[in-house]
Point group: C2
Chain length 351, copies 2
Amino acid sequence: MSARTVRLALIPGDGIGPEVVAEAEKVLDAATATSDVHFEKTTFSLGAGRFLDTGDTLTDDDLVAIAAHDAILLGAVGGVPGDPRLKDANIERGLLLKLRFSLDHYVNLRPSKLYPGAAGPLANPGEIDFVVVREGTEGPYVGNGGAIRKGTPHEIANETSVNTAFGVERVVRYAFALAERRRKKLTLVHKTNVLVHAGAIWQRIVNEVAAEHPEVAVDYLHVDAATIFLVTNPSRFDVIVTDNLFGDILTDLAGAVTGGIGLAASGNINPDGAFPSMFEPVHGSAPDIAGQQKADPTAAILSVALLLDHLGLQDEAGRVTRAVEDDIASRGDQVRPTSQIGDAIVERLQA
Amino acid sequence: MSARTVRLALIPGDGIGPEVVAEAEKVLDAATATSDVHFEKTTFSLGAGRFLDTGDTLTDDDLVAIAAHDAILLGAVGGVPGDPRLKDANIERGLLLKLRFSLDHYVNLRPSKLYPGAAGPLANPGEIDFVVVREGTEGPYVGNGGAIRKGTPHEIANETSVNTAFGVERVVRYAFALAERRRKKLTLVHKTNVLVHAGAIWQRIVNEVAAEHPEVAVDYLHVDAATIFLVTNPSRFDVIVTDNLFGDILTDLAGAVTGGIGLAASGNINPDGAFPSMFEPVHGSAPDIAGQQKADPTAAILSVALLLDHLGLQDEAGRVTRAVEDDIASRGDQVRPTSQIGDAIVERLQA
Ligand SMILES: CC(C)[C@H](C(=O)O)[C@@H](O)C(=O)O
Ligand SMILES: CC(C)[C@H](C(=O)O)[C@@H](O)C(=O)O
């Protein structure tokens, strides 16, 4: 029996990205050391650093080369805020969002779990274990906007959210299928009372798909009310489905209440398999602490678990998750350098 | 010396609205009993109840009549969620937002303060005392949107955020003036890295107005990061200025971390005085507990303090705020009926 080969694109990126990806790689290697799978890795130099060196953000050649892989692991991209040399570079839109849009990552999967031992800001958090299914390819993120009379007292700047039945239905179906495998509860979050057009298409499609899933209890919350429940009663959530912008906001808040975005993992998934899916910590590049071994690699390592699960390697994914859980449970107040956290998790995997 | 007359429009509304407005009125009367000001009150029957009775949401006659007042006190509007008779009524857009837009309430002022004795969800909240200055007349709330192929698998629903230099500048100027009177710190919240057009006009105008206020320390946060800080370090905020939608989200979250939206007051302000300003609790009509004396009238009462302050009655406003603070400090775990809370605050005012 011949080993399966997985072509993995690595994008360490900027700031703490390379540090956390190094630990994630260690863990990936350890978790699959005895598996019948071989990872063929290619590292892509992308991000603010590359832009400063070459002026390129993401070339067509980069995109073609990355798309030829089976999966992508990304650390974090983005330069020092306010760096004048990056004034006209929009690394977020030109690189991160360009990857998500070009590779049709229509499911942005963001689990939130309060692990025993993780210290969050809430006095009485209760059990927290939910997943945000954030739409990844449309909504307010499409970039359809512009300005007239720019820079004058008469400027008008517009930004249009585009929501298609095609785009909403596929992500809503994914969310319902996920809810079927979990606690069978789905919450649509939007702002239907104000954004009546965008809201109506989401509500209609959720209602339609709900009819095919009589076992799933469905409810609805306005985004403002959802933020209240995330701090007063996060246990009420199982699967949240929402648009690109509301998902962005809710998942940062969710990361905070479950112990910080140092622990929050995510997958940018193309469920059809037409393009490689991309796994990345929710946190950014944190240039202020880069190169100092101060970053927590846990979010990147949990992103590896999501990657393994996506590749059908459930055993390996489960082992990584359990090793991380055990590590978090034993942390207490100790502060360890980035690589020691990775090593400790590798040791647990090898035990 | 003749008493000043203030024409006050009361809109008790639906659900718990009438109950909390009744207490707010008691407090208003008590706080101004010995003042040289006389309130001439007119009550307007508006909301889901009125819609069900008459089919009207807000007529032109209503609007003209309300606009002839000096100020407005609103309880809460909105019917029972899912009531089929309200399917085609949008009380939020047709009444609440119509008032805010027609009366040019371009400053939506929402203070957040953690009062001693108020129990919030955070384990270590620190001192919380900031004000969100939310734009009230444009952004994603304009209602400029629509759908084609509605109800079909090919539907496309758009929603456009409209941001004008005129609209952004006037609210930003208000926020800077407020920061000058407070701790001289202003945070712009937006999502400039993704919503590049809407984001750029906000950032440009904040930069321009900042140059006129060298004493004010200015920073910027993406909306997702801002939600993190609201639960991990809310003390960092003094004045937040933001658009209509981000302001909606941040102020519900801010209400939650400072002890619940039962305490959160707001003013919809037309600083030019061309139209009457409107004061209302941030909470909704909560039809599930309506008529049971279970609602906390504190948010409505603190909205009276904002109203008095807006009318130039700073002494009276300060007395209401202090009476509320003393009441909150003495609450402990006791649960009192709505009217008892109002009575207790009135007693403190009379003491
Ligand atoms: C960096 C930014 C473009 C991105 C987003 O808004 O999606 C980030 O906040 C995230 O959540 O992954
Ligand atoms: C009821 C709704 C239209 C309103 C808003 O979104 O502004 C409410 O949430 C608020 O914050 O006052």
